[in-house]
């Protein structure tokens, strides 16, 4: 009996979150890595506090981007390390469910990491947060976009040799538009730049929806061996 797309996605997402609950890789490795990057940026730019303040949004999203690359690598390492991906392919879970489940788990983990990293930004960079509605929309849509693109490329490279070094090479250019839109939107939300912040939110929504559709369509061939 095959599961519905939603039921399959929920099962995959719950499984990934359960694995994180047991292994605590995001908590013990990704989060410290992200905080370390924020601290290093602070050290590098501290002599010019003005530059640090103006670059806060960009530095935050760069840190999120690096951390999300680790999260994507981890999300697919658990599938290939002991051949579990074959078991998934033999199960009744559809490729679209696997994709949506992976994206959901990544979004939840990244949102939690981003919350702590934002706290780090507030303390280290002395940032006053404002424009909460826009900031929330920017964060949510950027995270969905990053997760969807990451899940698509993650499965693509997961079975290749040298996948750990190949993934950032493929993923970072794809996420550059998300990084730019997220940075611009956050700057407007934080009052660091004037402009139409919601137009950046709309652009992020377009990226998120496009990457989600692309992933749902491409996942079947991407899961297959050629």
């Amino acid at each position: 009996m095959s599961l519905s797309t939603v039921a399959g996605a929920r099962l995959v997402a719950r499984k990934d979150l359960r694995i994180e609950q047991h292994s605590r890789v995001a908590l013990a490795q990704m989060l410290p890595f992200g905080l370390l990057v924020l601290i290093l940026f602070a050290f590098a730019l501290d002599p010019s506090r003005d530059v640090l303040n103006r670059a806060t949004a960009g530095l935050f999203w760069m840190t999120v981007l690096f951390t999300s690359t680790l999260a994507v690598q981890r999300a697919f390492a658990i599938e290939v390390d002991d051949g579990a991906l074959d078991s998934i392919r033999l199960s009744g879970i559809s490729p679209a469910s696997v994709f949506l489940g992976k994206v959901s788990a990544l979004v939840i983990q990244l949102l939690m990491l981003e919350a702590v990293l934002a706290l780090g930004v507030a303390i280290l960079y002395n940032t006053d947060f404002g424009g909460w509605a826009m900031l929330f929309a920017v964060t949510l849509l950027s995270t969905i976009g990053m997760s969807a693109a990451g899940a698509t490329y993650g499965v693509l490279v997961s079975r290749l040799r040298h996948s750990s070094t190949l993934l950032p090479l493929l993923l970072l250019p794809l996420l550059a538009p998300v990084l730019i839109a997220a940075t611009k939107g956050s700057e407007v939300a934080l009052g660091q730049e004037a402009g139409q912040g919601w137009s950046w939110v709309a652009l992020l929504a377009v990226f998120a929806i496009s990457y989600l559709i692309l992933g749902v369509v491409l996942y079947r061939p991407l899961l297959e061996e050629t």
Partner: protein, 228 residues
Amino acid sequence: MTTPDPSPSESPRSVPHADLAVELCSAVALLGRFPALAGCDLEVASGEIVLLRGPNGAGKTTVLRVCAGLVPVVEGSAHVLGVDLRLDQSGVRQRVGLVGHSAGLYSDLTVVENAVFFAQASGLTRSDAMEALDRMGVATRLHSVAVHSLSAGQKKRVSFAAMLSRRPELWLLDEPHSGLDESARDDLDALLAAAAGAGATVLMASHELDRAGDVAVRTVDVVGGVTT
């Protein structure tokens, strides 16, 4: 130079025999550019236990993965459980069980979490998973242990349980006896015999000919990607 006809529907052997669980005819499968199967012929009747034997790299594992619908057949014909794999490679997957070299489990999840996940992924229930663990003799004290903490033999039992919980019609086993102690091997042999008795078909690859040969009703040699 003529190119092979890609249309399986025009192949003279494309209609499967109803009593055959596996029917490969001149099947070619590639791993990258390497022809891991180079015109393989194989027939396995429903309810039969067949042993594939051959040297390392002969193509035994590829035969199993082709039958599972995991590796595409690019030439020849391949029917498994009545499904034409050239037309619908994934159509057979839910009906077969594969226990391979890798455990096929999530090492950070516990034994029960793995078994329940794969049962639910196949639309079955937690009780199906628990029943399969029980049938494979996985001790209750191991249920809440993470798979990465298990021995190779214990892992294999859990892999079998995850497969059993899905109630496959065709069992595809790659070195099923490796890593198991004598008692577990006896249990496995009894399980295979019972499965065949209940109508399941078993196709296994093994180097342990003494053990696997006793269980199998027929042996097929695989050398250089072809059956002999």
